[in-house]
Symmetry: C3
């Protein structure tokens, strides 16, 4: 049984270790896998993106624990969800929303965690990761039925996935995130580009599609289908973001062949 | 069997991986859990604080390996300690002292590690984490009796835990540490505050106690009982330390209701 | 069965977690151990150094996965190698070369990974860590014969290990790397130094050899045999690199007793 962890806790405080200690006290044989603890503090959009783009590479039955929880101690609900054979445990603040929206196939089932028998006591008002989410994740990994956590709900919070939209004959996309290598991930898909295209972003123009980084000439910014299935703006052995100077949310303008390039 | 790791090694060098390799060569089925490797170099006070505030969330029987070891290669002693059903392996430089001082209940037992049969050979003068602490931790996790490491001692080094003290009618506390979110952890307790209080720190005044972050108004610095049981100075979805500009050791002055507020 | 991971992926993106998910889907009981993910982007020299200096501390039979792969998607070959009872999976760009060169004893065997049955499909052009290296490492950890990955080769890429060379009566060495504590690791050995020596580096002179950090006087830069067997330039509880201001590749000049000191 695998439990993945995605948080905004960083690695300098003992928060992550404490949650792992709590989980191993319940599920001694769990495989604990860090996805990342470097989510910017309180950034639920980054969190849901990271979770949506990583969970499917784990075996079915994996429990995914996500603790990015600016509303800890308020009346925001703790949730457990079942999607495509994976289980998710997280606060009801949108961190599961890309996962829940992107599902094709079986309907996701989402439950409001209310069963206090699964909690660590006393429950603090400042660290539900330790007192609610970690123990519930561990009990689910150990085989507890997801229905045992509380009542099913359908009105969980969803953040809008930023999908591209047409404005006249241009498709307007956006920067989703920047990776460690400086690649600029967009919300465009390969099928959006067609045989000829022009991407305008932050005063730059990109007109070339490459199939691999190493096909590109030195110094060239190009488009490439990244490993998550989105178009990325990249350079070969260099950082595209240092050249383009963009960040999440920056608009991208796409013109394709049908337009006069 | 679980072994936790707390060091000042960082994650860029292979030091942590090397210690894990040594331990898995001895205790192949150990669950290795990183608490943190981001202790500032040589900072034994931060280390003992992190260990004291995290160990109890692991199941009894866990072995906690702490390598913050500025005196490596000198005659400082390597120690193994047994406290509340947990086992600790660390240099004798105070990194265990908050653990040993905070114990209520059974007396801690501390041993001077001298049994060279448990060491990796040859023993270097610069990396006892690899050659002494890691293998001893692994043998203990595998079930070796703690008495087998060497003679029991009582004169281990302890750092003074910074407890608040009265000066006139004011209680003087101190900043213990800052967490990743910018929360300022103090050594004050909820019971110190009483129904009405005024905290003075770095020119600021805090008079409000909140039970959760989300109760607070935007921009407000408040006191809250943190998850480690200490009073923290915090803001809602914002960094208190950026506002207060304090660091560990900064004095905090507390006046309570009995005083004229 | 242990699989170690060494990459330049960092810990903020989901890349490492994704590779772990893929491996656990194939080898559910694997012990996954991070060596480091902080290799500077594309830095194959740093990678091969880290791998060579850490692998031998793991038990024989360990599979070492190294993904520092600037040529991903090009025709650079994926490799699996067997050295001293350890197995390595990596791109053919030199990241295995220090391991392969430093072997004394049995000849290393190296194979060109071509068996697509071991790959995750579809194979992307941008993330062979996920689609080729991780699954092959997991199959090997689960017991697949290394010969099953593809044909044996001998023309793999090797980077030259920077060995010291004589110029007149001086031995010219180089800085290999800087560790987290600011210790400056060189490619000199203890036997190079002799009873009396003078090291010149970046305008400074070092003439003292210490056996442990704590032997040194405050403020003194000294030479010491580090835990990897190389001479390091160090200070006691302080950072030698902040004083010497050197980086990898900087030349070190060594004069020994036979010379007029």
């Amino acid at each position: 049984m695998i439990i993945t962890l995605t948080t905004d806790f960083g690695l300098s405080d003992p928060f992550v270790g404490v949650m792992k200690g709590v989980m191993l006290g319940i599920a001694a044989n769990a495989q604990l896998v860090d996805v990342t603890h470097d989510i910017p503090s309180y950034d639920t959009i980054e969190a849901t993106f990271i979770v949506e783009s990583s969970y499917r590479y784990f075996p079915a039955g994996t429990v995914h624990l996500i603790v990015v929880d600016p509303g800890v101690g308020s009346d925001r609900r703790p949730l457990a969800g079942s999607v495509n054979g994976h289980i998710f445990v997280a606060p009801d603040n949108g961190v599961l929303s890309f996962v829940l929206q992107a599902v094709s196939g079986a309907q996701p089932r989402v439950y409001h965690i209310k069963n206090e028998n699964l909690f660590r006591k006393p429950v603090s008002r400042t660290f539900h990761g330790r007192d609610i989410f970690a123990p519930v994740a561990a009990y689910l990994a150990r085989g507890a039925a997801i229905e045992s956590v509380g009542p099913q709900i359908t009105d969980f919070i969803t953040l809008p996935f930023p999908t591209p939209r047409f404005e006249g004959n241009r498709l307007l996309g956006t920067v989703l995130r920047i990776d460690k290598f400086g690649n600029v991930m967009t919300n465009l898909r390969l099928t959006d580009l067609g045989p000829r295209f022009r991407i305008r972003v932050a005063g730059d123009q990109i007109t070339r599609l490459r199939r691999s980084y190493s096909e590109a000439r030195p110094g060239e910014v190009f488009a490439i289908e990244g490993s998550a299935g989105f178009i990325e703006l990249a350079m070969n052995k260099s950082s595209a973001v240092e050249r383009l100077r963009v960040e999440r949310g920056v608009e991208i303008e796409l013109e394709t062949e049908s337009v006069n390039l």
